[in-house]
């Protein structure tokens, strides 16, 4: 499986954020997107997920299911955790599993929470959890529904060192199983052999 981008251009609010961007990412290797604030990292991930219209160019997922869009084959994990505070961690994950085409049975989401070291908070409402715990519940979403492409925007925000190590191990496992990861980050994710895509300074900044 291979994700390729051909001459991508994206505008937001009349301003060209990305222009003439081409790259490719193959299964089994992570693509790390770096660059200063405002360089368009989040924009790129949201464009791949299909949330933003492309001014030019196209993305292609070779080896994917041709009848679904790239977004429907991807987990998009943005800055927001997408969790409902009134529901328990388990109810949130059961919803993600059902809505994203996974298995919503108890065993699956309990296993995912256990993997992220959160088995003890499964039945607490999410609003009672700390920021780092919420982030870990959000990351558990990646494990409850199998989707080949992971689009991660600053995935390790609010995580402590142990949880960052844990998540690096989960990502490595995923890559070995043939997954495809595109991650935007400032902090090192602990992935060896990852390719890096460096986006330039924002347009309008002093050269």
């Amino acid at each position: 499986m291979r994700l390729s981008a051909e001459n991508i251009a994206v505008e937001r609010g009349g301003r060209a954020v990305l222009t003439g961007l081409s790259f490719s990412a193959r299964a089994g290797a992570a693509l790390i997107v770096t660059g200063p604030n405002g360089a368009g990292k989040s924009t790129l991930l949201r464009a791949i997920a299909g949330f933003l219209p492309l001014a030019a160019g196209a993305f292609a997922l070779e080896g994917g299911a041709s009848e679904s869009s790239i977004g429907e084959q991807a987990h998009y994990l943005g800055h927001a955790d997408a969790l409902k505070g009134a529901l328990t961690a388990g109810e949130n994950l059961a919803f993600f599993a059902g809505a994203l085409g996974g298995d919503p049975s108890d065993g699956v989401w309990r296993g995912a929470l256990q993997r992220l070291g959160l088995a003890h908070v499964a039945d607490f409402p999410v609003r009672a959890l700390s920021a780092g715990q919420k982030r870990r519940v959000a990351l558990a979403r990646l494990l409850v529904a199998p989707r080949p492409l992971w689009l991660l925007d600053e995935p390790t925000t609010a995580l402590d060192a142990a949880a960052q190590g844990l998540f690096a191990a989960i990502m490595r496992e995923r890559l070995e199983a043939g997954g495809l990861i595109v991650a935007a980050t400032h902090a090192p994710l602990g992935l060896e052999g990852a390719e890096t895509l460096r986006l330039g300074a924002p347009l309008g900044a002093a050269a």
């Binding site: 997920a49 997408a82 009134a86 059902g98 994203l100």
Partner: protein
């Protein structure tokens, strides 16, 4: 696909029934609207009985629409709209399922309590039954039309009032046929069946068409 629809319905239902979900507040708001009417109109029982169907319908309209402004905004705020857009369910069906859950949690209680509240307006048994029946047929249309407004105002911080301004004019046909069906028993202008069937037709058309409008608005507004 049906698994995704079930998961979404269950989630919406749970959120609505939890504290702060707003489902029960709608019924209390309905009660308050009905209660203040006799204070404004005076204690003339004949007048209240004659205006009863209209009062109940206006109260149901406002209670339904005011609860709808957060239909998509909560999901937009916490990022779960991104999950819904790429769910294994087309966005149009996501809208239908969310509206169905909202209707079951918010509008159905209004229908159930409307005969009780109608008693406070000195209405007879038959008009009470017809009001409840016309509300069952008409509130789905209100929910679906309101969903379009909720989708259009999803990116606005204080979109509630704008949503009401957008949606209330569209709800006028529902109100006309609803009240006219409900007042048929107490000597209204038309027999019951004609406005009631029009009401059913409006609801069915809204269920069929509004999801496309709301989904298009959600896709466009978020860009």
């Amino acid at each position: 696909m049906s698994g995704a629809a079930r998961a979404l319905f269950l989630r919406e239902w749970r959120i609505a029934r939890r504290i702060g979900g707003g489902a029960s507040v709608g019924a209390v708001f309905f009660l308050i609207l009905v209660t203040i009417m006799p204070f404004a109109l005076g204690p003339d029982l004949n007048l209240l009985a004659r205006l009863g169907p209209a009062i109940l319908w206006i109260a149901a309209l406002l209670a339904t629409l005011l609860g709808l402004d957060r239909l998509f905004q909560g999901d937009a705020d916490d990022g779960s709209l991104d999950v819904l857009v790429n769910a294994s369910l087309p966005l149009e069906l996501v809208v239908v399922v969310k509206c169905a859950a909202h209707w079951a949690a918010s509008a159905l209680p209004l229908v159930i309590v409307s005969p009780l509240f109608g008693l406070m307006l000195a209405m007879e048994a038959r008009p009470l039954a017809l009001v409840a029946l016309s509300l069952v047929a008409g509130t789905p249309a209100l929910t679906m039309i309101g969903a379009i407004g909720a989708a259009l105002t999803v990116s606005l911080r204080r979109g509630g009032l704008l949503m009401a301004v957008l949606v209330l004019p569209l709800a006028i046909p529902v109100l006309i046929f609803g009240v006219s069906a409900a007042s048929a028993a107490s000597g209204g202008a038309a027999p019951f069946a004609t406005p009631f069937l029009m009401l059913c037709a409006i609801s069915l058309a809204a269920i069929a068409l509004a999801p496309f409008a709301a989904a298009a608005a959600l896709r466009h507004v978020r860009e």
